[in-house]
Symmetry: D2
Subunit: 150 residues, 4 copies
């Protein structure tokens, strides 16, 4: 009987790992940030999560032949953010199923804590030729270890 499936939901602790300022180029004529920018900020959140929680840059992961293309995304826009506003990006990650990685991201105003946008992205594991692969064992182990750390 399999009590501890090899890829059970391993939930990492959320962490406020990144501050970023809204760029003028990211605003639109409504005076707030254009919606698609949120997905770029989610990417910045993932990058810093991997660097700080796994001690591994995503750039290095790709050099080892492991790619994480996005296959699904969900976003909820909860409040405005204007040019030059300082935002706080909180990201957590877990393995979702056998070959999926899920990142949950929450972006708030740094000064007031007001929510700006939250959501998640789900990623496949592929090689450089876009073929699906299983998540490397060392990465699974690394994530499990990270989830347990205080």
């Amino acid at each position: 009987m399999q009590l501890t499936p090899p890829h059970k939901r391993v939930l990492s602790k959320p962490a406020n790992l990144l501050n970023l300022r809204v760029r003028y180029s990211e605003t639109d004529q409504m005076g707030t940030f254009y919606n698609s920018r949120a997905l770029e900020w989610f990417e910045c959140g993932r990058t810093e999560w991997m660097r700080h929680r796994l001690g591994l840059s995503y750039a290095a992961l790709e050099e080892q032949g492991v790619f994480l293309p996005l296959i699904e995304a969900h976003l909820q826009f909860r409040g405005g953010a204007r040019y030059d506003d300082l935002l706080a990006v909180s990201t957590s990650a877990d393995l979702a199923g056998r070959a999926r990685l899920r990142f949950d991201v929450q972006i708030n105003q740094q000064s007031t804590g007001d929510p700006v946008v939250s959501g998640y992205t789900i990623h496949a594991f592929t090689d450089a030729t876009h073929k699906p692969i299983r998540p490397p064992e060392w990465l699974v182990a690394l994530m499990a270890k990270t989830a347990e750390s205080p």
Copy 2:
């Protein structure tokens, strides 16, 4: 007895209203389009849907003080699209609840029909100061009429 609720789900017919080519600027180092671009293509789909199905440009709608900020988005990435690929964007729209507009978008390769990305966006109705408003009656009527047309 209320037989015709004022904001019942008014489903417009899907329509392939727009072709667009993947720009080089929209690719990333994985060799396919960067994920956030899909939300920009969804926007192009909405713009052309309104122009062709409602006979109304979104620019004109804003001039009349009606804004449609995005409050939720969901995207499923279903296949690659490379620089210069010609894409077909199909958009449909309906009123969702009392004060929400929902657009469903499907983007496929024009030449093969292969799916690229699909999803939806949900929009609030606000005035220029970002305050929620009820959808204008003329717009509700216009959408109902559009949904009935063959």
Copy 3:
């Protein structure tokens, strides 16, 4: 005596090859298009110039191992363009020196002819590993032929 230097300035005829609409994502809070978008529109101009004047897609050129990274750009912003404005992009190209390709681009309002932005980009010829190469003879010949055509 060298009367016809192999890489003399071969000037292609300007041509209005492309219409594009300003996307909402391309506006900023000043209400007009954000400046960097002009370089993306220049790219669209180059792409269509190559397809229509050379009968060659830039995608195909890259597949043959010829890359045209941008090494210099100049832009003059001459007038506004708002969301949904229809723009006319005119592009011409010539070989500049032994191993440079130059594109001149002019973008105007389609309806009024009012200038929006003009400028040029200069490109090197490289292989896939970013190493400089000489422009392929067939491309030089093709451009010379194009320049002579009425």
Copy 4:
């Protein structure tokens, strides 16, 4: 005799005011950053130059009715920068003529000092309705004072 023209070239000291990382969204299929991103990084350089050298955010300047739309830009691409590379952005500014502001920007790899892109942007002074205005005296005085400071 006019010894001190009111808007002589007031050259601010260059300063390395900003580090930024290349985002995945800023790469293209050539594997380096897409060219138009440089103009967005120039904007980040201007924003931080104003905050740190003038003690004034550009957001606050706009709230006072002073806008600085870009009217000319020149860029020289001098070296690659890949995803996650840490860049150093150095910006200086001066008044150019009666009603122009010029920013010179140099972007280098933080770790090696290798040049990535350099150039300048020239800005007009306008009010919120895009009408040209003269630069506010207090801003001219502020810039002169900044230029003299060690």
